[in-house]
Assembly symmetry: C2
Homo-oligomer: 408 residues x 2
């Protein structure tokens, strides 16, 4: 076994990462609160915070004089250190979001895409145009952009990989080089599952839990896994492909080409299929766009539509069963749900999903388990990949050396 060695420099860098993590998670905090939440000594926190203030990463925001002792200063990320861009590339759109260096969302630009056009050149072009438009609209100079992160569903490593999520849409070194050239700014590219895990780790339940699974539900589905405060990437950056694990041996054909995948039941086309099995002529099935279908499901459920309620119940049964498999293998402290199906349909799905999950998880694996909607918010992909871009900037500036994601 080869274990990465830890040096004093690594420890110093880990302290910085932990301090940044604590400040970013808290928004505004104090040195004392950082020491309490990280377990670092007050002296170490004071040293690290001092260095990060000199480097323009942190700022003191205000000073509160107590009745006794020295005044207490609050600290925060320095929002004005620069700008970071996160780009969410999906089948049907490219969305570029501008963040300050405190990861507050400032503005966004969304370009619609033809979901049938999977030519990497056209995707590269759309990403480039979205970023250009965003920077022009917000009058941000390119020199102020510390990093750009792009979440790509078809991203694979190595030469022979095949895209899971979108058949025939896989990105290799050559396409990434083209993207890098087109963007012309410091760039990181990562898989959406690693991206949502990063967002959950820095800005969601990762602030209070060391092991978690965050599940993304949309057209496609997948899981981001955080263990001991680090993102599980796997041997080929493919960990978390729970959407293409089996729910039903030899079951429904999945768009990945295999049969019985979780995604074929709880991805939006899978939910449409479930409704079709219950009520083949249901009006919602005539809607052209998946998002309209999901919005319609929520509305019809509120109106007491029996077929829709039945479809939601079956979907919760599928989802709870499939989540139980993930819980059986990984045994996390908490499962969070994210993605646009969840934003619209989460409150309808969650109670029955939770019940099925808890009853199906073997032995002690669900003991104390929480299952909740993620509180990262609706731009979790863009936020996550912007966070990775910010981490990468800090690493390239020599401010961090370890626990940096291996984004490409």
């Amino acid at each position: 076994m080869v274990v990465a060695r830890r040096t004093s420099r690594d420890i110093r860098s880990e302290s910085r990462l932990d301090v940044l993590h604590a400040v970013l998670s808290a928004g505004e905090t104090t040195r004392g609160a950082v020491a309490a939440s990280t377990g670092l000594s007050a002296a170490t926190v004071a040293t690290v915070v001092g260095e990060l203030i000199v480097e323009g990463i942190l700022v003191e925001t205000k000073t509160t004089a107590g009745r006794i002792g020295r005044p207490t200063a609050t600290i925060a990320m320095s929002a004005e250190r620069g700008r970071v861009v996160g780009v969410d590339v999906a089948e049907t759109y490219v969305r570029a979001v501008l963040f300050d260096t405190a990861l507050a969302q400032l503005a966004a630009v969304e370009l619609a895409r033809d979901e049938h056009d999977l030519d990497p050149d056209s995707v590269v072009d759309a990403i480039g145009r979205a970023i250009d438009r965003l920077l022009a609209q917000e009058r941000v100079s390119r020199g102020a952009v510390l990093g750009v992160g792009v979440a790509l569903p078809g991203l694979v490593q190595g030469d022979t990989g095949v895209s899971v999520v979108v058949p025939n849409w896989s990105w290799h070194t050559v396409e990434l080089d083209r993207l890098r050239e087109r963007v012309g700014l410091p760039l990181v590219v990562d898989n959406p599952l690693k991206v949502i895990a990063t967002a959950e780790l820095w800005l969601g339940r990762g602030r209070s839990h060391t092991s978690l699974v965050t599940v993304n539900l949309g057209t496609g589905v997948g899981a981001g896994i955080v263990l001991e405060g680090s993102i599980l990437r796997g041997a080929t950056n493919s960990a978390g492909e729970w959407g293409h694990s089996l729910l039903v041996l030899d079951g429904r054909r999945c768009r990945c080409g295999r049969d019985g995948c979780v995604e074929a039941y709880v991805g939006v086309p899978g939910i449409q299929q479930t409704l079709r099995e219950i009520a083949p002529e249901h009006a919602l099935l005539a809607l052209d766009l998946q998002r309209d279908f999901i919005i319609g499901m929520a509305e019809k459920a509120d109106e007491g539509d029996a077929a829709v309620s039945e479809a939601i119940d079956r979907t919760a049964y599928y989802l709870g069963s499939a989540l139980a498999d993930l819980v059986a293998v990984v045994n996390p402290e908490i499962v969070t749900l994210t993605g646009w199906t969840v934003w619209r349909l989460g409150e309808h799905l969650l109670p029955a999903t939770r019940e099925r999950l808890l009853s199906q998880s073997p032995g002690g694996s669900a003991q104390g388990l929480e299952i909740v909607v993620s509180d990262v918010g609706t731009s979790s992909v863009a936020t996550g990949v912007a966070t990775i871009a910010l981490e990468r900037f800090l690493a390239d500036a020599g401010l961090l050396t370890t626990r940096i994601p291996i984004a490409l």
Copy 2:
């Protein structure tokens, strides 16, 4: 997020663990080879090895004079530092194995058990008798025993857990206290999945891979998971319960009470059921013992029995499908197979299992993946839990402080 802090003392302890790991894995090695395999500096290795020799953990075995330079000494674990006992508690037997402190197997005692008797008192008694008999037979004084490890299939944490593997057989603090009293020696108790992962980590493919899954196939089935050189325990020590993840939604009833679990298809009773579906009157189904059934399957397959060959093919299809789910989520470098089904039937199962696994693993998750029979050997459970007992002894002696399993 709370991250465990690392101190200089931890680093020193990790260096010791890495050196011990390297020496134990190699059997006999040199300081130079240890430095090369651990990534530690030659100076650090020299210091750590010197300390461990003084403490009687390592010994110099021989000195080889090269043609130039100083003579090179080989080092090894000090086999005579003491004895360690590993106890494998299964449904049908209790097996106690004696090891020296180089983890060489010296002797074993096996007591048959009535598999219907799940009373913890009778299990405690059988464990105690097996250890007593082993020590008496080998004339080992109790003072020479540095530690005893017991692998318990029904082990749970917390107050409300239910045994997964053997219904109604769950061990809580009270039974563990009784066991501790009966054994009267330094005791660790752990879950068999964590135990086989430990054996694979120290003595198997963990020597050459940092992320792996080892799968145990017998009456029950489960997975031990190693990530970044550490065993994945999970929030409630329940990670790896892949045997009770779903293979077929609403499929065969599993002995855990749920439907469609992997174990209901690839555990021995599952394989019996598959043969029964193909040839209800097959002579092998009349055999009383599961082990005889598996031995008979191998023999009949060699003789060209069509029903048995079909049952093996279907089992490989189930097993490959279920392993693909594990690979999709965890994305390890290698999968190893262990357990008595594998020792007897492995060569018949492996080719078709590998083919199905590779074709079913999504995207890049099986890229470069190896799937092999574990080379830890047929006492992997006893060896693994003896290894944990040895680690615990080293920790209690102040020789290690981190990365120690949380065995009870």
